[in-house]
Structure formats: structure tokens, C-alpha cells
């Protein structure tokens, strides 16, 4: 039996085949995935330790991009796989992928949780089936908990979000079904009454296919910038609550620089960032 890694079982199989759509082949285009990864990347600081769980392809790309640009001493704990400072060679869709073990160390998954729950990380990435204006995330159930309309996967590591200094929320959709006034179930706590950005650990940034948001000092979600081509109406129509508006005209989310794009395409040769959203 060979030890060689067989990335796919047979020729017809491709980890992302059913995500593929025409735009994936257009290497010159700047996709939503690139804009989102770059936006999150800029929110990470040199020397920080970031940890991520399931379904974290975009956060992983963001963290790796940060390492390759302004934050060379950023530490990435790629949950599930346990890879520490994976080289992301290449970017893979599953957090548990063997590709994440081209890395400096491999933690057992309990050790990843230990570092997260034990407060040894600065940034946690989260998401959910529902996110509300206080930044609460729901990954458990929609509808009555006893007989839900939608049974989600469960709260996973989300209850421990505040063990990290801040949490970045990242979603691959921006809809009224996802951004609701109040989540049906709190898996990751947002800002409680009377608290907001600046008051210790909590959600600090929200990055979606349409926009970047943060939270006001009162703890309500606030629009920061719109991605290129997205209108304010697009965001309002697809958000189930009223976002706080920034003063003046809403800026456009800075696009990735050519250097950033080049780096992302280098560690993402399959172009997954171009098709993930």
C-alpha cells in the first residue's frame, strides 16, 4: 500500500465540483471571495493568534493572506485538522483537509479547543444559520427548539467565542433569512444589553458577500462599507433589521491590491475563492 496522498478517489471526483460555476474559470476577475478574504485579512494584526472551526475556507484564506503581507507573525490554528500555521498549499474547502497539515505543527483537536477555551487566542471566526443585530449567532435550530423548522448542525465551538479577544463573523450568504432581528437560539453570544464594540470580547466584524459591518459602541450592527457593485438598497433589502449607518456616504470595501490577488491565486490554484460565494 502506498503512502502517496491520493487527493481524489477517482477521476470523476472533485472536492468542489458542485460549487463550480462559469465564473470560476475567469482568472482575471476579482471575485467576492477575494474581496471578503482581503477585508478580513486587514482586520488581523501581526502577532495575533487566530482560530477557526468548520467551514472556514474564507477565514483561512484571510489569515494566510495576512501572514504573507502585513502580519508575518500571525499564528493560524486551523481547527478540525489541527494544523498550526498551515502553508495553505493549497486552499481546501474542508477544515479537516489533509492539505492543512503542510504546517509547522499538528495539534490534536482537543488541544485546539484547549487553546481557544483557555483564552490563548485573539481572534475566533464564526458564522451561523442566523445572525442578529447584536451579533448573536445561531447554529442549532430555527423555530421552536423542541420541534424546529430547521435543525442545524449544533453549536460546535461557538459558545466559546468570547474566550478569544474578538470574533469575526463571516458568511457566504447575505439574506433576510440569515440576518434576523433576533436569533431563535444563541450558539455564540453577541453583545448583551449595555455593551458594544470596545467592551471586551465579542463580535467585532461581519463580512458577507455584500458588505463589511462592525458594531456600534451600543452593540448594534453597523455598516462599514459596501463591496464594489453593491448598492445600499441591496444590503437593506437583504438584512432583516435596520443597520446603523456610517456618517456620510458609505465607502466601497477596498478591493484586494494586485499583490494581494496574486498571493491569493498562488495559494488557491483551483480558484476556490472565485466560486465559494
Amino acid at each position: 500500500m502506498s503512502d502517496d496522498y491520493k487527493p481524489v478517489l477517482r477521476p470523476g471526483s472533485d472536492p468542489l465540483v458542485f460549487f463550480k460555476y462559469p465564473g470560476a474559470d475567469d482568472a482575471s476577475a476579482i471575485a467576492k471571495g477575494h474581496i471578503m478574504a482581503a477585508a478580513m485579512s486587514r482586520a488581523l494584526h501581526d502577532g495575533e493568534v487566530v482560530v477557526m472551526g468548520a467551514n472556514s475556507m474564507l477565514p483561512l484564506a484571510a489569515a494566510r493572506l495576512a501572514q504573507l503581507t502585513h502580519a508575518p507573525d500571525l499564528t493560524i490554528l486551523a481547527g478540525a485538522s489541527g494544523g498550526v500555521n498551515t502553508l495553505v498549499e493549497p486552499l481546501a474547502p474542508s477544515s479537516g483537509d489533509y492539505a492543512n497539515l503542510v504546517a509547522e505543527a499538528v495539534l490534536q483537536f482537543p488541544e485546539v479547543l484547549m487553546m481557544q477555551m483557555g483564552g490563548r487566542t485573539d481572534v475566533f471566526f464564526a458564522g451561523g444559520l442566523q445572525i442578529d443585530r447584536r451579533g448573536n449567532c445561531n447554529l442549532a435550530t430555527i423555530g421552536p427548539h423542541d420541534r424546529p423548522e430547521l435543525r442545524g448542525p449544533g453549536s460546535a465551538g461557538l459558545p466559546w467565542s468570547k474566550a478569544s479577544r474578538r470574533t469575526i463573523l463571516c458568511t457566504t450568504a447575505h439574506t433576510k433569512r440569515l440576518f434576523v432581528p433576533k436569533v431563535d437560539f444563541v450558539s455564540a453570544p453577541g453583545w448583551p444589553d449595555g455593551q458594544g464594540q470596545g467592551d471586551g470580547p465579542g463580535p467585532s466584524l461581519v463580512v458577507t458577500p455584500l458588505a463589511v459591518m462592525d458594531f456600534s459602541p451600543e452593540g448594534n450592527m453597523r455598516l462599514v462599507s459596501l463591496h464594489l457593485g453593491v448598492t445600499l438598497e441591496d444590503v437593506k433589502d437583504n438584512t432583516g433589521f435596520t443597520l446603523i449607518m456610517p456618517p456620510g456616504e458609505v465607502p466601497v470595501t477596498p478591493e484586494p491590491t494586485p499583490a494581494e490577488l496574486q498571493l491569493m491565486r498562488a495559494f488557491d490554484p483551483d480558484g476556490l475563492l472565485a466560486i465559494v460565494v
Partner: protein, 293 residues
């Protein structure tokens, strides 16, 4: 030992609890899981953590689970767990769901391994819906050193653990060629550990690199070699997950009939792994859906 024998001898027909190793669509000992379903092994409690996927969904869909304690049960970027969804959303089958989280479940497993009665939890769950209305999984405990109150989870010692190592010697000294995930701790914590492997290596090979032994043999009741035994999940460094087959499952299992057909075709039908793989490879490609989940 082969799958049928290991499952038949080592797992009681009505077992107290089961924890399946691997994580998401990686390193899940599916051949053993299919063996359990073929032999209609029932489990009072299934721990779906830190991140369960196909194994848990199949067992639940097959009606072999009475209570599931949920940390995470889904298919990551591929979608939600269809049989679990249906069981909960329809209420059919009386599946009891205990809502928990992956961190507490892992700490509880570790507490079980040490013989601790329970695991006090760091701050975190207090602010979530997990304790309101109270889940039976969490209780308040008073820290005897500070008199502060903390949440706690009862220690877990699974009565049965199914794990996958890429290699092991005949005695059960197992090697993870990729990520160990939670499976070293799982093997140290559980009463009966069945280890599915891709290949058997010599004891001499193990003795050469003892630091690379992920699971020591004294915790392993049986070593079961099964080539491609994790299919359709991955076995790190041996093969990736089969997203085409997983997608087929997710679509099929979105209805009761589809799930039953899948079960007949891929779990109950094939008497062994060879026949299973033949069916996988003869899969009707025309039936594969184009869209996502």
C-alpha cells in the same frame, strides 16, 4: 478480525453509548459503521462530537439511536445532515436530542478518561441558549476555592468507540498518518475500542518510530483492516473524501424513500466492503444531481 466479526463479538445488541472517531468528512471508520447498521446494533446514546457527519446521520436515519448528544452534526460546506434533520423536524422516531457543544463534550470525554466525575467548564456557555431552558447536559457547580458558580458537564466514558488509523500492527498500535483529530483521547477514554485500518504493518515498524504511535495497543480490542474503509469520507494521506458520493447521499437522504434506497444499495445490500466498493464504482453517474444541497 473482519468487520462482521468485530461488530458481532465486541458490540452488544443494545449498547450504552457510541462515539465515532474522525471529524467532518475525514477519517470516519465507515466500514465499521455500516457493519453496525447491517447487524442492527442499537445505541442508547450517540455522541455527535466534536464534528460528526455521515456515520451519525446514517445511524439516526436507520433508527438505531435513541438519544443523540449534539456538538456538531453536519456536512460542513456540503450541507446539513438530512436524516438528522428529518428525525428532528418531523418528530418521527422519537429521537431524543440533547443540545450541547463540541468543547464541553470534548472536556467531558477527557474527564471520563481521567476518571474525573465531571468537568467544570470555562466561562462561555452561560451566555447562550444552551442553558435556557436548561439542557440536561449542563449543571451549575460551585467552585470550592472561590465560591463562584460555573457550568459543568458530566464525564463521558463511551462504552464503544470506533476509530480509524491509517496503519496499525496486528496488536493495535495505530498510526495516524495525518491528523489525529480527537481519536487518541477517544481511544484512551472508551471501554471498547475497535480500530479500522487501511493496512497492517509489522510490529518492528512500530518499534522503529514509537513516537509516531497514535493509539497504544492496550486500549484496542480489535484491529479491522479494510481498504478504502472510510469511503466516502477521507483517510488522511490515503484518499480524499468522495464528494460525488457524499452529494449523492445528501440528495438521496433528503426523502425517506431516498434514504431507504441508499441504505439498501450501499449499507444493507453489500455483504462486505468489496461488494460495497463495487457498487460505489458502478454508481449511476446520470443520477448525480447538478445543483448543491
Amino acid at each position: 478480525m473482519d468487520v462482521e466479526e468485530a461488530v458481532s463479538i465486541l458490540i452488544p445488541d443494545h449498547a450504552e453509548s457510541l462515539w465515532v472517531g474522525g471529524m467532518h468528512m475525514h477519517n470516519v471508520p465507515m466500514a465499521l459503521v455500516r457493519g453496525c447498521i447491517r447487524q442492527s446494533k442499537r445505541f442508547e446514546t450517540l455522541y455527535a462530537a466534536p464534528s460528526a457527519s455521515l456515520a451519525a446521520d446514517l445511524l439516526i436515519g436507520a433508527g438505531l439511536v435513541e438519544r443523540v448528544v449534539v456538538g456538531y452534526l453536519g456536512f460542513e460546506h456540503l450541507g446539513l445532515a438530512p436524516a438528522f434533520r428529518r428525525a428532528v423536524e418531523s418528530g418521527a422516531g422519537n429521537l431524543e436530542v440533547v443540545e450541547a457543544d463540541s468543547g464541553s463534550l470534548t472536556l467531558a470525554l477527557q474527564a471520563g478518561a481521567w476518571g474525573q466525575p465531571f468537568a467544570p467548564l470555562p466561562r462561555g456557555v452561560e451566555e447562550t441558549s444552551l442553558v435556557e431552558p436548561p439542557s440536561p447536559f449542563y449543571r451549575w457547580v460551585t467552585d470550592p476555592f472561590t465560591d463562584d458558580i460555573f457550568l459543568a458537564a458530566r464525564a463521558i466514558r463511551p462504552s464503544v468507540a470506533l476509530i480509524h488509523c491509517q496503519q496499525a500492527d496486528e496488536f493495535g498500535n495505530g498510526v495516524f498518518k495525518g491528523s489525529p483529530f480527537t481519536d487518541r483521547l477517544l481511544a484512551l477514554a472508551s471501554d471498547v475500542v475497535i480500530m479500522q485500518v487501511e493496512g497492517v504493518v509489522s510490529n518492528n515498524q512500530i518499534l522503529k518510530y514509537p513516537q509516531q504511535t497514535g493509539v497504544p495497543s492496550f486500549r484496542v480490542a480489535a484491529v479491522v483492516p479494510v481498504t478504502f474503509g472510510c469511503h466516502p469520507t477521507s483517510s488522511h494521506r490515503y484518499y480524499n473524501y468522495d464528494d460525488v458520493h457524499l452529494r449523492l447521499y445528501l440528495q438521496a437522504a433528503s426523502t425517506v424513500e431516498g434514504f431507504e434506497n441508499y441504505l439498501a444499495q450501499y449499507v444493507l445490500g453489500p455483504e462486505d466492503q468489496e461488494e460495497y466498493m463495487r457498487r460505489v464504482q458502478n454508481q449511476d453517474w446520470g443520477a448525480i444531481p447538478e445543483g448543491g444541497v
